[in-house]
């Protein structure tokens, strides 16, 4: 029954995409690029949710707000430390971006580790809901830190990565700022994947997520491993914050809330706890959002984006809680 429904839905989706592609293939590819870029940013944030969920089975609601705060701080650094303007020379921009990236990642890391240390560590043996509720509280606290520091107005930076074309074939074009986001995301993902798969820390993370007590008995410092996971997740959020800022050039204190929920949906779609799944989910959600807003034939339009994304979230949780790539979880049984 569910399988049939899913199949019908999938066929409709393919028909919809197919018709849109045939009607205007060039526009379709352009929208695809936009979606891919957006999806890359979502993937970075989604990875943070998935890393933390993998090790603690906790939805770290504050993650989206950590992302927003680090993005806002990045905007402050770019504007006030480096004094960048729309026509700063390339050398300054090439110096400013890596320095800001490191600063944003360091800030988000330490913030995330602090949140874990202050909030979640004491609740390891409390009911799950207690930790979840604390995470919501933390989310509001971080959001209000952003509000206190940056007020309600949008913080904008000039466009530092030009949106001129890298190449253009007919109407199809890829811009530098999109390419930049993709180029920065891919190495980060590869590095993360290598770290989790091949380093001692990664091994400790995987062991802790499988069985915390057993890994403690094997001599793994569980607290340090969990802190390390939060630091890693925070670093990804910091990177995502800067990328979001560079690509969209504007954000404010509550940007992280909605984006966090969308990224969380992406993590669930891919299979929460699964790193590849988070990336896949992020890109899929990015594409869905842009296809919905950018295509012309039979699209509900931007007004309904949120409903569609959360509709997907609900459908996935109800019909396939393990996500596209995740292992089978008992929640769905």
């Amino acid at each position: 029954m569910v399988g049939l429904l899913g199949l019908v839905f999938l066929i409709l989706l393919i028909v919809w995409l197919g018709v849109n592609f045939i009607k205007d293939p060039q526009e379709f590819i352009n929208v695809f690029f936009v979606g891919l870029t957006r999806g890359a940013v979502y993937a970075l944030i989604a990875l943070g949710y998935t890393l933390v969920y993998g090790i603690l089975q906790l939805i770290n609601f504050a993650h989206g707000d950590v992302f927003a705060l680090s993005g806002l701080v990045a905007s402050w650094i770019l504007l006030n430390v480096f004094d960048v303007t729309g026509d700063s020379d390339a050398g300054l921009i090439l110096l400013a971006i890596p320095v800001t990236l490191i600063a944003a990642m360091a800030l988000a890391s330490s913030l995330n580790v602090t949140i874990e240390f202050v909030g979640y560590r004491r609740l390891r043996h409390a009911p799950r809901l207690a930790a979840l509720i604390t995470a919501i509280g933390m989310s509001f606290i971080v959001q209000n830190i952003s509000l206190i520091l940056f007020d309600v107005n949008y913080q904008s930076i000039p466009r530092l990565i030009p949106n001129s074309n890298v190449f253009q074939i007919g109407e199809v074009a890829l811009q530098w700022n999109k390419l930049f986001v993709l180029l920065l995301t891919v190495p980060v993902l590869l590095a993360l994947s290598w770290m989790v798969r091949s380093t001692r820390h990664g091994k400790a993370m995987r062991a802790t997520s499988q069985d915390r007590d057993a890994s403690a008995m094997m001599g793994i410092n569980v607290n340090r491993t969990i802190s390390f996971t939060f630091a890693l997740a925070g670093a990804l959020a910091g990177a995502a914050g800067l990328l979001f800022l560079l690509y969209f050039t504007t954000m404010r204190y509550d940007t992280g809330f909605e984006l966090g929920l969308i990224a969380f949906t992406a993590a669930v779609l891919g299979g929460i706890g699964n790193l590849t799944g988070a990336v896949l989910g992020g890109i899929l959600i990015g594409l869905i959002q842009e296809f919905n807003e950018g295509l012309v034939w039979a699209t509900p339009g931007g007004d309904w984006t949120r409903s569609i994304v959360f509709g997907i979230l609900i459908a996935i949780l109800v019909f396939r809680p393990s996500g596209l790539l995740g292992e089978q979880t008992p929640e769905g049984e």
């Binding site: 089975q57 509720i133 109800v318 008992p330």
Partner: protein
């Protein structure tokens, strides 16, 4: 009490019944005095609550030196009561049944729009009046007596609760929370975009439905009661007071229902599920049906409160239904103590007051006495209200997870052991 009891258990049983019998005898001796003593605070509180909005009382209280400014106006008090009522409804879901609902605002919205549809000029294609007090019968739109609308809104919202609940209640804990959050996000967007479903205007989009009719008792009852029951709240001189008393009545009704429900068969089933779902199922409690009932009943009160609030504000606007409201209500339940009716009432009044007037007044005084002289600028305290609620949530969870006034049973659960899986342990 089955026949297969062991001798020790029977012993226990006899001892227990003799103790109970002694207590009953003692109680019978001083029954009147005991009853009076336990009811006295309630009666005093209720009397204060009832006379609070009276012109003379209210002016006097709010005119008191130093503390007077901290008392809310009757109009603000209505909003406090309505939100407290919603918190008690949420308490059924979160506190009794232990299901974290992050989308309660959806029920509030459903109730408010029900009032918008059934008691306003929104559907001007039709003219339908049913027992509407003090309105021109020629007025287009559906106008049903608001008291009836409250009931209908409650039922409609309960159905919405069941519809949301049925597919999602299979999920456990945190997944359920996320799904409800998803619904809580979809509903506001749905009403905001609902102004043209194939050309049909269902929700009036972002303008919202306004004005909405006021409750009232009509000419007949007004005559019979010698003017005591007003024809129509809105057309009366002291509309705020009338709304206040009616809200108080609704709150008492909610409290009574939830109090009786807790001790009912259904309520005990909820608590059993909260404590240990697997054991409850093994004892023969139908999980899905029981959980769905908690959703439906929690939603029912949310719907009534939403419809009443819409009538008080004379409008249902999509901008009212945002995620933070759900968190605000959850904060009331957590601060008061999950499952504890008294706690939730007190926390509801405190937080509701802070939200409407308290933070502004406190912030103003802080600014005047301390912040402005020292830092030479003013803080906008109400702007940071959700940061403050966040701090409250985190502090409560870390240091007093049972709430201000812990429910006895919940406290035992928290102290004696965790039945829910602790964070980070995979359920196998």
């Amino acid at each position: 009490m089955t026949e297969s009891q062991t001798p020790e258990k029977q012993d226990d049983q006899t001892r227990l019944s003799s103790v109970l019998a002694q207590r009953t005898q003692r109680g019978a001796g001083r029954g009147g005095a005991d009853l009076a003593r336990s009811l006295a605070p309630l009666v005093i509180l209720l009397t204060i609550a009832i006379i609070y909005p009276l012109e003379s009382v209210n002016t006097w209280v709010r005119g008191l030196p130093a503390i007077g400014e901290y008392f809310p106006t009757p109009g603000s008090a209505v909003i406090i009561i309505v939100f407290t009522m919603m918190a008690i409804g949420l308490n059924v879901v979160v506190g009794y049944a232990g299901l974290l609902d992050l989308g309660y605002v959806a029920f509030y919205a459903a109730g408010a729009y029900m009032a918008g549809w059934l008691a306003s000029q929104h559907f001007e294609q039709v003219t339908f009046h049913f027992l509407t007090p003090g309105l021109n019968p020629e007025l287009p739109g559906i106008h049903i007596n608001l008291w009836l609308v409250l009931v209908l809104a409650g039922i409609f919202t309960a159905v919405v609760g069941i519809v949301i609940g049925l597919p999602t209640l299979r999920l456990r804990g945190d997944y359920l929370a996320i799904v409800t959050l998803g619904f809580g996000e979809i509903v506001p967007q749905f009403v905001r975009n609902g102004d043209s479903f194939g050309g049909f205007d269902l929700t009036a989009g972002s303008f919202g439905i306004t004005p909405i009719d006021a409750p009232g008792f009509g000419d007949g009852l007004n005559d019979v009661s010698a003017g005591l029951l007003p024809v129509n709240f809105q057309q009366s001189f002291d509309a705020e007071q009338l709304y206040y008393w009616a809200a108080l009545g609704l709150l008492l009704f909610t409290v009574f229902c939830c109090w009786r429900l807790r001790d009912s068969r259904l309520g005990r089933a909820w608590i059993a599920i909260r404590e240990d779902e697997t054991a409850a199922a093994a004892m023969g409690i139908p999980l899905m049906r029981t959980k769905t009932w908690s959703y439906a009943i929690g939603a029912f009160f949310g719907g009534i409160a939403g419809a009443y609030y819409a009538s008080f504000k004379s409008g249902a606007f999509p901008s009212d239904f945002y995620f933070n409201i759900s968190i605000f209500l959850l904060c009331m339940v957590i601060l008061g103590g999950m499952g504890s009716i008294w706690g939730v009432i007190i926390a509801g009044v405190i937080l509701g007051w802070l939200n409407i007037e308290g933070l502004a007044v406190i912030g103003n005084n802080l600014n005047n006495s301390f912040v402005e002289p020292v830092f030479d600028q003013r803080l906008e305290v109400p702007k940071y209200q959700f940061g403050i609620y966040g701090v409250i949530i985190v502090l409560m969870m870390l240091f007093r997870p049972t709430g201000l006034i812990p429910e006895r049973r919940r406290k035992l659960e928290m102290e004696e052991g965790v039945h829910d899986e602790p964070m980070g342990e995979r359920s196998v």
